[in-house]
């Protein structure tokens, strides 16, 4: 199961539409969830609407949260998305077996109980990859400590699952103009590696949400941000990274 979790506090303003990028992700089998951080009420109506649309296009969910609720919100979304992904697959199967108007809800409680048991099993054991994409434009600066803590907390919860769980962390925008997003952490299950992620960031104003999403989709595909040019990925990602980490 593949998920992107986008954390932002405002509207995108550079490059392709993030809604289009999210729709693209969905076609690739990646669900996109979005958290809008609203600590100082900065998100605005435009931002809130965009967040909702990105999530809808990405087949995921969106929530507005302040930094205190962030950790809880991220875990709830990740878990719900896993359950929903499985539920969709199960409903599809049920339709094939039982006919078109069948879904989990229409089964008798006794039968439902058996199906949900299997679903719980899958929820707990299916391999899960979550890529976190963090907006670090200037207004996010005071919130990054909370974001980092929430990432650690998410890892702690995912680490308790029976199935393998990995996270990767990216931030956007990059430090120079043409860099849509930067990798902070490659696929990992190691709790310790989630510490001190964003310490040496240079904050910038632009918010290229769309291009950054597209980059992360590439990462799911090729394991690097630079598409098929395999080796360059590590070099470009200079900031606050554990570049020596090898999974």
């Amino acid at each position: 199961m593949k998920q992107i979790l986008l954390i932002t506090d405002g509207c995108s303003n550079v490059g392709q539409s993030p809604v289009m990028a999210a729709s693209f992700a969905r076609q690739e089998g990646i669900t996109v969830n979005v958290v809008g951080i609203i600590d100082y009420g900065t998100i605005g109506e435009m931002g809130a609407q965009e967040i909702q649309e990105i999530a809808r296009a990405g087949g995921g969910m969106s929530r507005l949260a302040d930094t205190r609720q962030l950790s809880r919100t991220m875990q709830m979304m990740t878990r719900k998305t896993v359950v929903q992904t499985i539920q969709q697959a199960v409903n599809k199967e049920l339709k094939q077996i039982l006919g078109n108007h069948q879904s989990l809800e229409s089964l008798s409680p006794a039968k439902r109980s058996e199906v949900v048991e299997v679903m719980d099993e899958l929820t707990e054991t299916s391999p899960l990859d979550v890529a976190l994409l963090i907006d670090v434009s200037a207004s996010m600066k005071p919130k990054l400590a909370a974001v980092e803590e929430a990432i650690r907390d998410l890892m702690l919860s995912l680490g308790a699952r029976e199935g393998s769980s990995r996270i990767a962390v990216f931030h956007f925008p990059g430090s120079h103009g043409d860099e849509a997003c930067v990798q902070d952490l490659g696929w990992t299950s190691d709790l310790e590696s989630t510490r001190s992620l964003f310490q040496r960031l240079v904050m910038k104003g632009a918010t290229p949400t769309g291009p950054a999403l597209l980059k992360v989709i590439d990462f799911f595909r090729y394991g690097t941000l630079n598409g098929h040019q395999t080796d360059l990925g590590e070099k470009g990602a200079g900031e606050g990274i554990l570049s020596d980490y090898v999974h």
């Binding site: 359950v83 539920q87 989990l104 809800e105 008798s108 409680p109 439902r112 109980s113 949900v116 048991e117 679903m119 719980d120 707990e124 803590e149 650690r152 907390d153 702690l156 919860s157 680490g159 308790a160 699952r161 029976e162 510490r195």
Partner: protein, 310 residues
């Protein structure tokens, strides 16, 4: 997805089961659990009172029901004095044109443990605590962990009877803990994983005890920076607070997971907390006004005797 506000039902509403046809009249809201809303209801034909839980989400509620079923099959009772089953009926209701799952369970009279302790006195933690540990031990023996243990999820009544409510967080051992609440969560204190094991519940139980007796100190410790938080903070409270002294031995082992198994955890509580030397019962110092009154009355007696024998 159903949200809590959709399930806001007025007293008098009748809920009818689609599969079994049972009907229940809503009396009042009892509370909100993680997976749904709990109402006090009256069964229409028998007049009996039950608790009814309406689910927010079909899968989540069914998952909870599955756990309750397994507990029943493995012979786990709700409390020591009560052989009632966890589950009485499972059905779906039609509400506002949508199908909403619900289940019926026994109605538990009682009050949250915090209130019970507040009214009866801190001493009562000795017995209620033991009863909570016993109930946890029963769950552990069946291969489950309670998970979301907190004062709100412990109902106390009578002379220290205890019942755990909201089984939405109950998780199979070895799997991830389904639901938890910050303060009582081992992960929150950087004191271990969120994998369900018996020690997870011992930890939560320890924090519950600290919360009940030294709430302010706990609140202060919980406010420290996330990366600085450790269970050393909790151990320090246990060491420094005189109110926790009788429990200190148990709490230190509970916070660090140092019990062989849950039976030992119960026995150790019984031995060190319930049967502690009688010396502890702190006698309140005699109030000043009483001493004064005594002196005055002796004086009066003296003068009365003096007047009498003069």
């Amino acid at each position: 997805m159903t949200t809590s506000t959709d399930l806001d039902l007025v007293p008098g509403t009748v809920i009818r089961g689609r599969w079994l046809g049972g009907s229940y009249r809503i009396h009042k809201l009892l509370g909100q659990g993680s997976n749904g809303v709990v109402y006090l209801v009256q069964q229409e034909n028998s007049g009996r009172q039950y608790a009814l839980k309406l689910g927010f989400d079909t899968v989540d509620l069914q998952s909870e029901i599955n756990v309750l079923k397994t507990l029943h099959e493995r012979g786990i009772r709700r409390s020591a004095r009560d052989s009632a089953s966890f589950l009485i009926e499972v059905d779906d209701a039609e509400l506002a044109g949508r199908q909403v799952p619900f289940y019926i369970m026994r109605y538990v009279k009682g009050e949250p443990l915090s209130l019970f302790i507040f009214r009866r006195g801190a001493d009562w933690l000795d017995l209620t605590g033991l009863n909570v540990l016993k109930q946890l031990a029963r769950l552990h023996a069946a291969g489950f962990v309670f998970g979301d243990l907190k004062p709100d999820n412990i109902m106390a009544g009578g002379y220290g009877d205890v019942e755990l409510i909201d089984y939405g967080g109950v998780s199979q051992m070895g799997r991830s803990v389904k639901q938890f609440t910050e303060w009582y969560d081992r992960g929150f204190w950087n004191a271990g994983s969120r994998t369900a094991d018996a020690a997870y519940d011992w930890f939560s139980f320890s924090v519950v005890c600290i919360h009940l007796l030294c709430g302010d100190e706990l609140k202060r410790a919980a406010r420290s920076l996330p990366q600085m938080r450790t269970n050393q903070d909790l151990l320090k409270i246990v060491d420094n607070q005189p109110r926790l002294k009788p429990y200190a031995g148990w709490l230190k082992r509970g916070l660090t997971g140092h019990f062989e198994d849950s039976r030992e955890a119960c026995q150790y509580w019984e031995r060190t907390v319930c049967r502690r030397p009688a010396a502890r019962r702190s006698r309140k110092p005699t109030p000043g006004w009483l001493t004064g009154a005594f002196v005055v009355s002796v004086g009066l007696l003296g003068s009365a005797l003096y007047l009498f024998f003069r």
